[in-house]
Every structure is written in C-alpha cells, then in structure tokens.
Amino acid sequence: MTRDRDGAQCKICTRPFTVFKWAPRKGGAFKRTVICLTCARAKNCCQSCMLDLSLGIDLNTRDHLLKMAGESEGGNIEIVHNAKNEVARIYNAEQLDRKFNREDDERGVKTDSGDRAKLLLGKIEKVVEGGKKRKRRDETRNRHDETRKNVNITKGDLLKLCKNLPFNGSLNHIPKNEQIKTFFLFGVNDETTDYSIKEYFGDLLGDRKVIESVFVNTRGKFGFVEFINREIAEMAAKKMKKDGDDKATLFVLNRVPIRVCWAGKTVTSGSDYSNIELDKIGQLVRKQMIKLAKGGEDVKKEVKKEVRKEKRRKVEYKALGDYEID
C-alpha cells in the first residue's frame, strides 16, 4: 500500500486529500481512494468504492431506504446533498470537518456503526412488511386515474389510427405474404418491458437468438415481435395457438394478459402517433381486451393459473422467510 499526501483532489469536495493505493490481489489491479475522509465520513461510505460502511449497499439505494424508513430527518445517518458550486463544496466540507473534530473531542472515538445499522434494518423490515398494503392502495388509485382521463374518440379517427394494428387478427390465419415474420401484441401495461417479451418468446422457442427485435409501446399498449425468419415465426405461431380459436391468442406475462396475432404488411412505429393518439389507442386496446374476453372465460382462467403459480412460489418463499427472519 502506498500513501500520497495531497495526491489528488477529492471527487466530491475538490480539496486535496491523502490518497492510498493498494492491490487487493498480488499482481492484480490497483485500487485507490477517490474521496476524502471527511466526505466519506459524512456519507458513511468507503473512500474507495463508495458503498455504505454498515450495510454494504450503494448510496442511492441506502438513501432511498432511509427515506422509506422515515429516517431522512433527524436520523442517525444524514443524507448529505452535494452542492453544485465548487466554492460551496469546499465550504461545506470545511464545516463538516470542524463538526467532526468537535465531535471527536467531545466523545472520543465512537464505533456504534453496527447498532445503527441494526436499528435501520429493523425499521426497514417494517417498511418491507407494510409495502404490500401500500402497493395495493396505489393500484386502486391508478385505476381511478385511468378512468378519469377519458378522451373522446370519433369513429373516423379510430379507423385511421388502427389501419396497421390488426386487433381482430389471429395466429391461425397464416398471412400469404412471405415477407411477414412479425407478431403484433396488445394489452401490455406500463411495466411490461421489451426484454421480458423477448425472454418469453425466446424461452418458448428454446433460443433467445431467434428473435430479431422487440418493441413495446406502453402508452398505446401495443407492440411487435420480429423473428429472424419466416419459419421461426410459423413455428412460434404453431406453439402458441389454440385450436378453434379465431381471436388473437392470449398469454399471461407477470400477471398481465397479452394477446398476440400475426402483424400486417406494414409495421407502424410508436412515434407515428402523437401522445393523445397513443392514449386513444391504449383505451381502444382495453376495450378490445374486454370484448375478446367476453367470448370465453379464458382470460380469468389464464390469469388465475399464473397467479396460482406465483402464489406457490411465494408460499415457498414465505416458508423460507419464516424460518430465516424470525
């Protein structure tokens, strides 16, 4: 380990500080301290990797947890905000320095870091337990929001908007145009991500590389999946479709029912529409999902199946948790 007095400027307060440099493994890469002791102490983090000293997690997450645990004001670990201005940073750091020196003189060296972390973890535990309830409340509020922003839709507009969105298609009618190797999906919600769709279809076909590209528009609640060639697309259709089903095929991904069918000749991009138009399409998708679901009970069934699967997983987890936490 080497020491370099005033070897570099602290990345937070820009004052010079004593830099230590060492190799954790013999012959391996060097590590060095990047922020000064004062800044590290103020944030309760490591001078080199900037992870929290008592919890071992990054500062963003820690600050968020502190906030969730209601510790941001008057708590033990203060959330220190960084000033934008260089002079202000130096000034703040000097103030902190003085404060710490005073504390040291008064109380000597204190090492209550462990207890502090324990307290914090206890508070967080309560938040984690209470998290479920809060989430449910949020969900009901969301439903409220959606109904409120009802936009009026005229029929002419709708037809124009949905020219390239085959809401009434299905996987059974294989398109004659050999160029088409894309599926159209609708019913996705705000949390559906591109990669979750990609993983779903990749796992269905046994290889994620057969999917050329995926895109989901969360606002319009629709998306497209493109396969690398026509054969793969037909194979996927064969695997997914249900016999005697003349509607778009239903599948459930993370509790969200999504319907999928062959795409048309032209694949529109989400940026072809304005935000208002996308909202309209989103509403239409919801209506269409309800309409299609009325034909049979399959939506409920599928969602239930998924929920049951999830519950089973959760029960297992809970059993583990009971054993380990209490």
Binding site: A29, D104, L119, V127, V128, Y195, K198, S269, S271, E324
Partner: protein, 319 residues
C-alpha cells in the same frame, strides 16, 4: 464456451496506423493528438471497427478469476473489445463478453474500470456520474426515421444488453434507450458510438447519457422501480442478517432459551450483541479504526514537534 476471437490482427498495426493528425502533439500513452485549436478532438467520425457480440465474445485470461455463474466484483470489461478492436483475443486481461446482473462492480467506476466523476460533463458525454444510476442513453444523428425505427434500434442495440424500453422523438431524429442494467448501458454506449444502425456506413450515431425523463408517467415508473429495488436489497440484507443470527444461535446452544424470548423485540431495540452485519466487503468498524489512526497520528505529530531537532524529514517510527 469458446475462446475470445481476435478482433484485429496485431500484424496489421504499424507506425503508420496512428490516427490522423488532429492536434500538435501525439500522446503515445493515449494514442491521441493533443494541443492545437480543437485540442486534438476530431469530432464525430464513423468508427472503423465494430463489436459483433455473438461472433467475438469468449473466454479470456480474466475469466480464470470469475467462476461461471458466480459474482464478479473486480474484473472489468475490455473497452477495446466493445469498440471491436482488441488485438489480444483470448490473451486479454479483461472480459470479452457483455455485462450481466452477476457483474457487480463498485459504483465509482464504469464496467470498463474507468473512474466516474461527481457530475456529468456539460454535453453528457464521457464516463458519467457516480451520483446517479443512469440506464438510459441518448441516441442522436439518426439518418432516417422511416419504417419501424424502434425495431431497427432494438436490433442494433439489443445485441449489447436487455432493452427495457425505447422512446423516439421523430421530429428531432433522436431516440432514448433504457437498458435493464447500468453496466449494459455503459457497454452499449462505448460499442455503438460512431456506428450506424444495421451496420450502415453512412450513418454515424452520437451517443450520450440521457437526462431525466420529464414525462410524469416515466417519473412515476422510476419511483416505483426505486421502491422495488430498495425493498429488494432490504430483503437481501434482512436475509443475510437472519442467516448470521441463525449461525450465532447454533453456536450458543446453551442460551437458546433466552434467545427465544429476546428475538421478537430484538430488531427494534438495539441489544448489545455484536456482529450483526451482513459480512461484507468492509468491516463495520473500519471508520472507527481510521479515526483511531488519526488520533494516533496526532499524538505522534505532537511528539515529533517536541523532538524537532532530531527530525530528518523521514523517520521510520512515526509512520
């Protein structure tokens, strides 16, 4: 797993393959021109090489220290591999693959081991900031927005990581791509800089970090994501804490009775039992140790000042 492919034949590199003169002095360490009017910056030009992940990735010397399926905390990715011009192949000391969630590198460096800064540069280029976890890239200078641009972008950028969402601003010909992991965004930023979509030679993409999305929906989503991530890591910590406690309980078999009575209240009241920490990377009292060191140094300095006559600049005892 196959060995990493040699992306660039070392024999093709000679003295004349240094970059075109754009400044006054050539810096041999960084292989860059400096000085002159633009300080050696040539501006954005089309990249000469490109990384083809499926073809090029493979094991290198760095993989010896990373167990397959294990956490990687200190091995970095090869920045030349990302740019498509690593001439070491399997003898490279850095990883030749795309980052996954098992690569958990310290937040002060990016996935290539380059140090981050407190603030972004004014133009949002460069390595980025350690204050914020940024998983979104800004993509500029897209030539055409015809057809389904999202699918096109998804195809080119999806190679370097799991894309969470893509947002397009058609009128400005720009796009924003959010990756699942910060590492993957860092990798894609380096890999796609100066490239074209679908290997288009006439296109030179400009890639930077994105600012925060002002869309209220996006903000809400971000908040929820943060909550989820926070709870996730809290759960992990609690689990580790519980495991620690379980091992302690088994050690102190004789005290099991008392233990049981204590346990429900234990979490909220700080009982003086030591070592509850998830073990970690850093021991809990390292800060205390540092302070002790500081005190000791203060004492030593005072002593030194007393015996200043004998002082010769360096003496071995006081260090």
């Amino acid at each position: 797993m196959k060995p990493a492919r040699l992306q660039l034949d070392p024999s093709t590199i000679n003295d004349s393959s240094k970059p075109e003169q754009t400044g006054q002095i050539f810096n041999v360490w960084y292989s860059k021109w400096t000085g002159g009017e633009t300080n050696g910056r040539a501006g954005l030009v089309h990249a000469k090489t490109r990384c083809h992940v499926t073809k090029d990735s493979g094991y290198t010397k760095a993989d010896r220290h990373v167990k397959p399926g294990g956490l990687n905390r200190d091995k970095y990715f090869c920045v030349y591999f990302a740019r498509g011009c690593c001439c070491n192949g399997k003898r490279c000391e850095y990883l030749h693959r795309i980052p996954t969630e098992m690569d958990q590198l310290p937040p002060t460096v990016d996935c290539f081991g380059r140090e981050k800064y407190m603030d972004y540069r004014e133009d949002m280029s460069g390595v980025g900031s350690f204050n914020k976890v940024n998983r979104t890239l800004y993509i500029g200078r897209i030539n055409s927005m015809d057809g389904n641009i999202e699918l096109k972008l998804g195809k080119s950028f999806g190679e370097f990581g799991d894309i969470e969402r893509i947002r397009i601003v058609k009128s400005k010909k720009i796009a924003f791509i959010t990756y699942r992991l910060e590492n993957q965004a860092q990798f894609a930023k380096e890999a796609m800089y100066g490239q074209g979509l679908g290997e288009d030679e006439n296109e030179t993409l400009n890639i930077r970090w994105a600012n925060e999305d002002p869309d209220p929906n996006a903000r809400k989503r971000k908040r929820e994501e943060e909550d989820r991530a926070g709870i996730e890591s809290a759960k992990r910590l609690l689990k580790e804490l519980a495991a620690e406690r379980a091992s302690e309980v088994s050690e102190e078999v004789s005290e099991v009775e008392d233990e049981h009575e204590d346990e429900p209240t234990e979490v909220s009241t700080a009982t003086p039992r030591p070592a509850i920490m998830p073990k970690p990377i850093i021991s809990t009292d390292s800060l205390g140790l540092l302070l002790k060191l500081k005190e000791k140094r203060k004492v030593l300095r005072e002593e030194r000042e007393k015996s200043k006559g004998l002082e010769l600049g360096y003496s071995s005892e006081d260090e």
